[in-house]
Amino acid sequence: MLKSLHQNKKIQLIIGLVIGIFFGFFLQKGGVTDYNIIIGQLLLTDFTVFKVMLSAVIVGMLGVYLLRSLGFAQLHPKPGSLGATVIGGLIFGIGFAVLGFCPGTVAGAVGQGFLDALFGGIVGMLIGAGLFASMYPKLQKKILNKGYFGEVTFPELLKVNPWIVVIPLAIVLIALLYWMENIGL
């Protein structure tokens, strides 16, 4: 039943839209569609972004691995390489700080009425993504595959049952959030 749902293109577009609406709602209510809060995180004066992200990761990880163990979901880890992930990640970080939004929150910021997010952020991202598409053949040959390590996950690397990683990591991340609250971050 799930497979035919996954293959139904029209229904998938609607599901994407509905998940997006909830996502935008939660991002806005969490405060992370606000430039001041994102810059506060990057200046290490406001830890709202980390709190939203880490709690999403803890809950998401437990649920998605449970769905997978029950046979209801498959993982889709992204492939990576030093040339793509590290260099791309560092360029991304500069853009993150200069714009003050990331690709998801910039869309939320537009919904909240921030015009710099619309005419600067969205327009810039479309240009940047287009530029990358034009340069892709060259980058692909020269840089993107350097230090390729593939679609590997930590449980696969360690060759252990995923829950051996999931449970302790969930505990560590919860402890980290608890500690952050305790020291007043």
């Binding site: 990057l42 990761v57 360029i91 993504a129 980058l139």
Partner: protein, 174 residues
Amino acid sequence: MLDWLFMEQWSPYIAGVGIGVLCWFAFLLSDKPIGCSTAFTRSSGMIEHIIHGSKVNEKLYYKKFTPSIDWEVMLVAGIVIGAFISSMISGVFQLQWVPSTWAASFGDNFSLRLIVALIGGILLGFGSRWAGGCTSGHGISGTLQLALSSWIAFICFFASGVAAAYFIFHILGG
């Protein structure tokens, strides 16, 4: 009873838990992790298609990511709608050009902020496709799957973001 729907801001933990639960539904109902940056690739391709015609589809990168409306484009459209609804019902929706933190260091000239935001957007669009994902695709969906690539990306996003923000606000704006 529904007061919480109209609150200006929730605890970040509640919002985070909500996003975590959404990730379950994305995997269950769509067999996909939540991500945002390929939507910008596809949209950029669609715009280029209007300007330059079907030559665009021959570009190698657009063979990987066909310029068409897909699940992720709908997701990003949904984010705009969801944030609009949330900010309208709590009364915080407001058209605004220059954020206050920026104005405090660099003044409230809107064209300066617009140019800087545009440069930031270009770097962000370029960097997210170079890294193969953004703060959602790598930062949340990838890390929760325990993908090595995503944990490395997450660390690079924030290491470089913190350094760049320090440079902008404490050196240029200090």
